[in-house]
Symmetry: C2
């Protein structure tokens, strides 16, 4: 249309210096006027870069459950991708097929890198990806101390150690732990922190005061109800997720008890956007946090993982970045002194 070669058009749009400014302007104008945009697939083929990042999100641990933190994590990562011109490729797979999905993404060459979510015991994915030579960043980390890959994680052990210490300091002795499924690394570490705090005061954990389940409202309710109905019920709960804690609160109220007075609750808060713990930032309220919580934004983690991955893809040599974030400990209305 403009009497120019594909070469020049490509260079004009790509911002290369060897085209006259006026030509570039003409090309740009014609492009927007006619809605022309370079075909991503063809460009990818030519450059060898897919300009896309893959996320594999597992669904179901037996049930049809999708972890609600993904929405926020993905939102965070997505912001970064969008800013850098990358696409996000999502693969939703049943829990067992996960490995196949990773392998497929790695070899089919339609992503330049991967984010690995929630590593588990003896997770085969990391070895697999390292073998495939594809850059990746892990959200969380594998149980054995990793040495040579990038990850972003929170200090789960320390967070739950501090939370347990807080409850102990308040005078609680019967502290229940409502954890996620303990084949997941984060749940394992939280349990360790909990046990460590108890042991430091010469206390042992009572088996009937710990539960490990999917982090749903229902599971929280069921476990809390069972414990509250037993002999010598707990006076405090340590709960691994906000959503689970909603079920705990319901169970407490079912029994005619008041949270924060009769029973204390400390949660871990991922700062999900639709589930602010108290007034969300910017709402301008004076309302404090509902739950006392260890907290760390999963959305920020998504952003950070994406940044690290993109840096690893773009800039050589690939840097190994390992970040372990400290959680904030916020005091809310859900904790009070233990029984005398």
């Amino acid at each position: 249309m403009l009497g120019l070669s594909p070469t020049t058009v490509s260079r004009a749009i790509g911002g290369y210096p060897e085209v006259k400014e006026e030509t570039r302007r003409r090309v740009r104008e014609a492009a927007i006027a006619h809605g022309y945009r370079p075909n991503r697939r063809a460009a990818s083929l030519a450059t060898g870069r897919a300009m896309a990042i893959g996320h594999v999100i597992p669904t179901a641990f037996g049930h049809e459950m999708v972890n609600p933190i993904f929405a926020d994590f993905i939102a965070g990562a997505g912001e970064v991708y969008a800013g850098a011109g990358y696409d996000m490729l999502l693969s939703v797979v049943p829990d067992g097929d996960e490995e196949r999905a990773y392998r497929q993404m790695a070899t089919a060459g339609n992503v330049d890198g991967l984010i690995v979510h929630g590593p588990r015991d003896g997770d085969p994915r990391i070895a697999l990806l390292r073998g495939a030579g594809l850059p990746f960043v892990v959200h969380g980390r594998a149980p054995v101390e990793p040495t040579d890959y990038s990850f972003v994680d929170i200090d789960n052990r320390r967070a739950f150690r501090r939370a347990t210490d807080l409850l102990l300091d308040l005078g609680h002795r019967l502290i229940a732990l409502l954890n996620g499924i303990e084949t997941m690394d984060f749940a394992r570490r939280r349990r360790d922190g909990y046990l460590e705090a108890l042991a430091a005061r010469g206390l042992g954990a009572r088996v009937d005061l710990t539960a490990s389940a999917e982090m749903t409202e229902h599971a929280g309710h069921a476990a809390a109800r069972r414990m509250l109905d037993a002999d010598s019920p707990p006076t405090a709960f340590l709960v691994s997720s906000h959503i689970m804690a909603l079920g705990v609160r319901r169970a407490i109220q079912d029994r005619g008890l008041t949270m924060g007075r009769d029973v204390s609750v400390v949660i871990h808060d991922d700062m999900l956007s639709y589930l602010a713990n108290g007034a969300p930032p910017g709402a301008g309220g004076t309302e404090g946090p509902v739950f006392t919580a260890t907290r760390s934004s999963v959305r920020a983690a998504g952003r950070r993982c994406a940044e690290i991955l993109l840096a690893n893809i773009g800039g050589h040599p690939p840097q190994v970045v390992q970040e372990i974030w400290e959680c904030e400990l916020v005091l809310g209305g859900s904790t009070g002194r233990g029984p005398p």
Copy 2:
């Protein structure tokens, strides 16, 4: 490696008939032995089909909010894509940039179709996509009666009409509506159903008993609290989302009232996997629903949208499929008789 041409390899793997069975076997074995997999981008370029579906998920309505129903919707759609060999391309964009994101996906040719989420007043996206000649399916529908595009929606008006009727039948007269943001089509229709039910009994809506906000726990709490503190507070709440209702329940309990006895609540339940309303299927409990609810699985909607879209892409001629699903009305413990 096998002394075969690319042609034959392509046909062997693609399952075309003009290759000897024994050759096909050799190719297959060599492929898995060496981890060969056809490059998706090159294949896409050659065939003209991207083998990917785009989803644009808006973040923030001013705040940094990502709608929690996306996780489940996407999980449903993802199942279908995976089964058909399609990828899912996600674009997370700030609310205003949505249109640009759609246009980009449409013209860059890296998707074969799109799912449009949550259409709004005078939504430009539909016209835009129709112009681009890209197949799409809308989750929800536009306010003006659509004629020629596919969508899957629930009968929001009827659901809220029935819910309101239920509360009226129970003797409630002061019924509050806690709705989503009413520029969204679904929220508009729910309001219509609510008003229609009131009008049918000669009742008008009190402005101070309706609220329209982001569907967060906090917004639900704030609105319910405000209403409960006012003169002649409502005896029942109609709440547009489960999460919002958690805030309502908290507000009710803050006031020392009991949900289901002092104040009734009816919600709309999207059946999110991590937020089962009562015992999730398969849990084997005898516990009934916590909330009385109109309900419809958003995950099923995701599956259905994906099916329709893939059918439209694969089979010609493109069929327009328009489905309006009826919600189930389930009775839970959150509703009781109104004041005498």
